[in-house]
């Protein structure tokens, strides 16, 4: 059976007007999201990963607009929706987002309970009493102990991790089809991060939503994702199943990201560092946007933009290195045998080593 595509993006281009200048944040992205899968979008800040997913809920900043392309969701091209009132059919209801900072996404002067039941009343038309009941159930679902007594508390009385749980509860209140998690754990401590990631996974199984993760942490990606999309300068440069991208990466930018992992560094030696900085999006980018920073760039990289080359049915990369005419280049030594290296690290690493048993 063919997998169901829940969201399909075609040739998307997004531009922003910044002080009379135009910036192209998304440059021709086409991508399908399969129902029920966890897709992670990885990239540096400024690569456009947040902008990309904001177009799914009509949340682009006021100076930004979609200048080309389509986004299909439930047989409708949602990229053409203009009115905010129309977006309310989808935003929050069918596609919900949880953001990085749980403090700014909650209203500090309203009780936690009010903020959850508000959503239930608005989107599901329940009565106040029913909404409260549902809200308390949701709070328990996301792991708040004594949900009933904490219903009337304010956000400041909750810890960072607990607040993020509440944000998740609010996002789930409408039983969305897609949950976008925009760096949901970056502001949290590692031990809390691990719990929140587990929670989102468990809930995805129970509520059967599709998850889109935006993150720059490759460790988190390895934990959550079925599919990875690597973004660079407004484009997806590599796309594939998680194991394909980690163990058989093809794009030099993905190589660079993996090579600079501190886990792969030997003490005393320099860590691999990607040279330079990403290109300015104000100017037109000629050829491969990563070419000036890459050790593997060919002459053609500076002249012509590479197409998406197919590596396997599920794995694509946008680099001229995959052209049959290109010289054969192997991925850098640092990231060869990645799994063996990590295993080695973990088996040397006490608790780390318990993991594999």
């Amino acid at each position: 059976m063919e997998n169901n595509i829940i969201l399909s993006v075609k040739d998307l281009e997004v531009k922003f007007k910044v002080r009379d200048r135009e910036l192209t944040a998304i440059r021709n992205i086409s991508m399908d999201f399969e129902e029920g899968k966890v897709v992670a979008i990885v990239g540096e800040s400024g690569s456009g990963k947040s902008v990309f997913t904001k177009t799914f809920t009509g949340m682009l900043d006021i100076n930004g607009r979609i200048t080309n392309g389509e986004i299909y969701f439930e047989n409708e091209d949602i990229s053409k929706i203009v009115k905010d009132s129309e977006w309310e059919r989808i935003r929050g209801k069918k596609i919900a987002t949880i953001f990085q900072d749980p403090m700014t996404s909650l209203n500090p002067v309203r009780t936690i309970g009010y903020q959850i039941s508000e959503v239930i009343i608005k989107h599901q038309g329940k009565s106040k009493e029913d909404a409260k009941q549902l809200a308390i159930e949701l709070m328990q679902k996301v792991g708040i102990k004594d949900a009933e007594s904490r219903y009337d508390e304010y956000p400041f009385q909750y810890s960072g991790g607990m607040r993020q749980r509440i944000v998740i509860a609010i996002a789930l209140a409408c039983k969305p089809k897609i949950l976008i998690c925009d760096e949901p754990t970056t502001a949290l401590d590692v031990t809390i991060q691990a719990q929140i990631i587990q929670l989102i996974k468990d809930l995805a199984e129970e509520y059967k939503f599709t998850t889109i993760y935006i993150t720059h942490d490759l460790g988190v990606v390895a934990n959550v994702a079925d599919i990875v999309a690597v973004m660079y300068a407004g484009q997806i440069v590599e796309y594939g199943l998680i194991e394909e991208v980690f163990y058989d990466p093809r794009h030099p930018y993905t190589w660079g990201l993996l090579s600079s992992l501190p886990q792969l560094g030997d003490k005393g030696d320099d860590l691999f560092a990607i040279k330079g900085t990403p290109p300015s999006l104000f100017q037109e980018i000629k050829g491969d946007g990563f070419a000036p920073r890459s050790e593997y760039s060919l002459k053609i990289d500076f002249e012509k933009e590479p197409p998406m080359f197919k590596v396997s049915d599920t794995h694509y990369a946008k680099t001229w290195l995959l052209d049959p005419r290109a010289p054969k280049v192997e991925k850098p030594k640092t990231i060869q045998n990645l799994h063996e290296k990590m295993l080695n690290l973990t088996s040397k690493g006490g608790v780390y080593s318990d993991r594999d048993k």
Binding site: D189, H216, A222, S260, P262, S347, S353
Partner: protein
């Protein structure tokens, strides 16, 4: 680090920091003891609220201490110092902050940001020497002298952090407290900044107190690690030992929660949650004690016996897996 030249540069004894707010007092740091040797990178690792930053700030004199001694190069520094002493100390001890956007004066040029310390201490003979020092500091962090007249907002996050480092380095310090210097930076930039800090350590024999929460960075960067939980150090060990033989349950849960960039390992991982209330806390009051050489754990006699068995088993397992 060889045994012989283990010179202690900083000695923290029974350190306690208390914050008082509306008559309510909160002890953020409780009886903390550690030594930092000259030329090493000593990491303080813990979660937010654990007190790791407070310790760093207490050492550099930004937080008052309520008990204990901080001894730098044989001299107690958390006490009243003469003007000259305090000046000397400020020059020798510098701090690199987490957020390079917030720690630089946005209305001052890069040149001013870097020279501020030089000006305060008159660390130059004439204008020419001052400019030379600024140029050299900029060059040493990979920026150009042309950047001098620019303002912080004209730089990217990674470049700003380089300015933060240049500003500390221009004072020619011996001891640097780096408080999460890379956590606000992008992954691809982190490696650049870490390499830079390592370069200075080698070239100038600097000593670092590295405050961080990311254990994968700490593993690569530090010589010894102290794990701190709720204002108390629960474990201190050389980096390799801490990763190979973590003993305190909090250390273990912390190590285990760091996601590894490897899908096969991550997908098969089970979560360990540290819950102090579920621990057996019987027996006398625990203390930070040495279990094997250089490896300290916060424990009492009963726990010590348990940890010894555990340690023996871990060493045996490791030997077997190495066969």
């Amino acid at each position: 680090m060889t045994e012989i030249n283990r010179e202690i540069i900083l000695d923290v004894k029974h350190l306690e920091v208390t914050f008082v707010n509306n008559k309510k007092s909160f002890r953020a740091v409780k009886d903390v003891n550690f030594e930092i040797y000259k030329g090493e990178t000593f990491a303080l690792v813990g979660e937010s609220g654990s007190g790791k930053t407070t310790i760093g700030r207490a050492i550099i004199g930004l937080n008052d201490t309520s008990n204990g001694d901080i001894i730098y190069k044989g001299k107690k520094i958390n006490t009243h110092l003469s003007k000259q002493e305090s000046k000397d100390l400020t020059r020798q001890m510098q701090m690199i902050f987490q957020d390079p956007a917030a720690s630089l004066n946005e209305r001052a040029t890069i040149s001013y940001c870097i020279a501020e310390g030089l000006d305060n201490f008159k660390l130059y003979k004439d204008e020419k020497e001052k400019q030379e020092k600024i140029d050299n500091a900029l060059k040493s962090v990979g920026l150009l002298p042309e950047h001098k007249s620019r303002y912080p907002h004209e730089f990217s996050g990674g470049q700003r952090q380089r300015v933060g480092i240049a500003r500390a380095m221009v004072m020619e310090p011996d001891f640097i407290i780096a408080d999460e210097p890379i956590s606000a930076l992008d992954v691809s930039i982190r490696a650049q900044v870490l390499n830079l800090m390592n370069k200075f350590k080698e070239e100038r024999g600097l000593t670092y107190l590295f405050i961080a929460h990311d254990l994968s960075v700490v593993r690569y960067f530090s010589d010894r690690i102290a794990v701190i939980h709720k204002g108390r150090i629960v474990e201190i060990a050389p980096t390799e030992d801490l990763f190979a033989y973590p003993l305190h349950p909090y250390t273990r849960s912390l190590l285990q929660s760091v996601p590894m960039p490897d899908p096969r390992i991550e997908k098969s991982k089970e979560l360990l949650i540290y819950d102090e209330s579920k621990r057996d806390l019987s027996g006398e009051k625990p203390k930070l004690r040495e279990i094997v050489k250089d490896h300290y754990v916060f424990m009492n006699d009963r726990e010590k016996a348990e940890y010894e068995i555990k340690l023996e088993k871990m060493i045996k397992d490791k030997e077997e897996s190495n066969k």
